[in-house]
């Protein structure tokens, strides 16, 4: 039996172990879960050591040290000691008395990330998105579409659906502008949601609900995809039924 076949069997048995939780909690599930958590932790430890610690810290410091030994020059690679110092401070969380020192590292991380992200978010997700909503509001008529599928029912349904999409597509700029404006009004709480203002807020709620519905639909599709992948593994790869 090749290692590949053994791997497939282990994968299939552990998949069934995890699925068994859908019936009820049981030792088989607990074993599979514990194994998954343990292997993940071990895997990430190795990845962190070999992909982060060794190439980013150890190799750079070794380079700096050899430069110092061979050429007597203090080169810029010594800067990695700063990172190492903050890394050690993080580990001090394990020592309760001086655990507070780890906050320095966290402050450094939060500060650097905030500084780095601020301008990028502002431009990519702020300014450019606002600019994207400033659209010309056309009043052109959408071209009618008639579906030809060969069946009268699908012809009617197809025609209705395609024309609905066509209308939405033609007036997508209107949808975008109205949706953004009404959505913003909904979150404006300084004025009571009554009259025209309340109506606009209500339209905003509809836009929000449609958005949440679309997001939920996409999430369902994503989760179903994962389940399809597992089922394909069990029936196709493991059992070879098709």
């Amino acid at each position: 039996m090749s290692s590949e076949v053994i791997g497939i069997w282990i994968g299939a048995i552990l998949t069934l172990g995890i699925f068994s939780f859908l019936y009820k909690d049981n030792p088989f599930y607990k074993f599979s879960e514990a194994l998954f958590v343990g292997i993940s932790a071990g895997y990430w430890f190795v990845v962190t050591f070999w992909q982060y610690f060794v190439p980013k810290f150890w190799d750079n410091l070794s380079l700096a040290y050899s430069e110092l030994l061979t050429k007597g020059r203090v080169d810029y690679h010594w800067i990695y000691l700063v990172g190492g110092f903050f890394g050690v401070l993080m580990l001090l969380r394990l020592v309760p008395k001086i655990g507070w020192l780890s906050r320095w590292s966290l402050a450094f991380i939060v500060g650097t990330t905030a500084g780095l992200q601020f301008t990028r978010y502002l431009e990519s997700n702020g300014i450019l998105q606002v600019k994207g909503t400033i659209m010309p509001l056309d009043l052109t008529y959408p071209k009618p579409f008639i579906a030809h599928t060969g069946f009268i029912i699908t012809d009617i349904l197809g025609t209705i659906w395609c024309n609905l999409l066509n209308i939405l597509y033609t007036y997508s700029h209107w949808v975008l502008v109205v949706g953004t404006f009404c959505g913003l009004i909904y979150f404006f709480f300084s004025k009571e949601h009554k009259g025209v203002f309340g109506g606009a807020a209500r339209v905003g709620v509809w836009f929000l609900m449609i958005t949440f519905g679309a997001l939920f639909g996409y999430t369902v599709m994503s989760r179903m995809s994962l389940l399809i992948g597992r089922m394909d593994y069990l029936f196709g790869i493991w059992l070879g039924l098709y």
């Binding site: 190439p55 450019l128 679309a214 599709m221 179903m224 995809s225 399809i228």
Partner: protein, 289 residues
Amino acid sequence: MNETTNQEKKTFWEKLLSIDRRIIFLFIAVAISVPLFFKTSLDMPVSPVVQEVYNAIEKLEAGSKVLVSFDYDPGSMPELQPMAESFFRHCFRNNLKVIIMGLWPQGPLQANIALDQVFKDEDIKAKNLQYGIDYVNLGFTAGNEVVIDRMGHDFRESYPADSRGTPLSEIPLMRGVRNYDNIDLILNLSAGYPGTMEWVQYAVDVFHVKLAAGNTAVQAPSMYPYIQTGQLAGVLGGMKGGAEYEIALKRPAKAVSYMFSQAIAHGVICLFIIIGNIAFFSLRKKKTS
């Protein structure tokens, strides 16, 4: 008599609302599994956002360099692996040069799996593609968005060597590639952070490189606003996006075959939602009366 029937109906809806969740799990399992045995391919129209991804690759001249970033792990394989294979097929079919990298440690390994699959195709096999000349795998490097930023100045700052340890200067494909100025298109396959959003923020908006993406369905809705603004050329959203891309490529594969299961499962879920709503409103009517 009417009252008795009414009573029975109400009891039925009450029973339906308190149904054991395991029965629903069973329905979903059957809805997902059974269609897999029928090798049915659903025909579906290619949406404009997917067509744009296809067009972005199609417009490139032979020999153009495409950077493909694999920012996902095996957990997202059912959604993203078919896209990866399609991307490779499209690029190799059009004689494009492919540079592979990953911001997730397992990403470049996923690329190797996809390459193995694509190299089984007769038309691709006939091209006798050479590592280092037609494609190269730079591997993973730590640093998330900082890697993207540094590559904008010089690839060697982030990747002094490829995944096999060969210095970039010794790889024929990488000669003449200094930064994004020498890349014609970036393709990103993303399942979260770091992913497409970071590529938009740090590569597209700073270095003005062209980017197309394939995302998990959970992530896809967050990416659509970038298309409207031109920050993204197009997006493949989840399994359906992957299936549409396979259809655009005229090479239906895994994603298309999975979509039948997807459609049946969605139908069953919709049915349950409708039944649940009817049961809920029936009971509410009963309570108010």
